[in-house]
């Protein structure tokens, strides 16, 4: 099966599992954010990228907290991109503590460029803000 077809199938499962906004963020930006403890009031969240560490950050200040390097491999082979982010999403929702305890924990910047992450956070905030405006204004 071609890589594109495999990825398409994986994206379909992702689309039917994630909230519409998270899936749209992944389609548009290539990543999405998951609140810590599944609760936006927790004050922290994770940026979820395919095949890259989870990056934890403070939601109010945007301060980067840690990188959590986790892998989901079947017989040593990595999953399609969309399955990898879905596995992270499922594990963060259902087994956050276990997932974080399993991960190799590093300070920000170990594998993912902090400037890149800050740009992504700004991008996500702007994208969410534009979506909010679009949803309020049916003429747009």
């Amino acid at each position: 099966m071609s890589v594109h077809r495999v990825e398409r199938r994986a994206r379909e499962l992702l689309r039917t599992t994630l909230a519409e906004e998270d899936f749209a963020a992944y389609e548009r930006l290539g990543f999405f954010s998951v609140p810590g403890r599944g609760d936006p009031a927790s004050g922290y969240a994770y940026l979820v990228y395919p095949h890259r560490p989870l990056v934890a950050y403070e939601t109010v200040t945007g301060r980067l907290l840690s990188e959590y390097c986790v892998r989901f491999r079947d017989d040593g082979v990595r999953l399609p991109d969309a399955d990898d982010v879905l596995a992270k999403w499922l594990a963060l929702h259902g087994r956050e503590r276990e997932l974080i305890a399993t991960a190799n924990v590093n300070p920000p910047g170990h594998q993912v460029d902090p400037d890149h992450v800050r740009r992504d956070l700004a991008l996500l905030a702007r994208w969410r803000s534009e979506r909010a405006v679009d949803s309020r204004d049916p003429m747009r």
Partner: protein, 80 residues
């Protein structure tokens, strides 16, 4: 209810499908569920409540809500 598994090279594979309220289907679903856990897979049930999407991890078929649309099996996390 559908049991699906993430697999490298194939995407998501349908392992079993049936109505857990039908004894024959339930038996098949339970058998496949156990097989996946024996292979070391993690199992999650995606849920939706008024637009809010969550997931519940399950370790036994009895923990799967009867009205769940699907159970997703995926490889366990390892440190990278």
């Amino acid at each position: 209810m559908k049991l699906v598994r993430m697999t490298p090279g194939h995407g998501d594979v349908l392992l079993a499908e049936g109505d857990p309220d039908v004894a024959e289907d339930e038996e098949r679903l339970i058998e496949e569920f156990r097989r996946q856990l024996e292979q070391g897979m993690w199992a999650a049930v995606p849920t939706a409540d008024r637009g809010r999407r969550e997931a519940v991890m399950v370790r036994d078929f009895a923990e799967v809500p009867r009205d769940a649309e699907r159970v997703v099996f995926y490889p366990p996390a390892a440190g990278g």
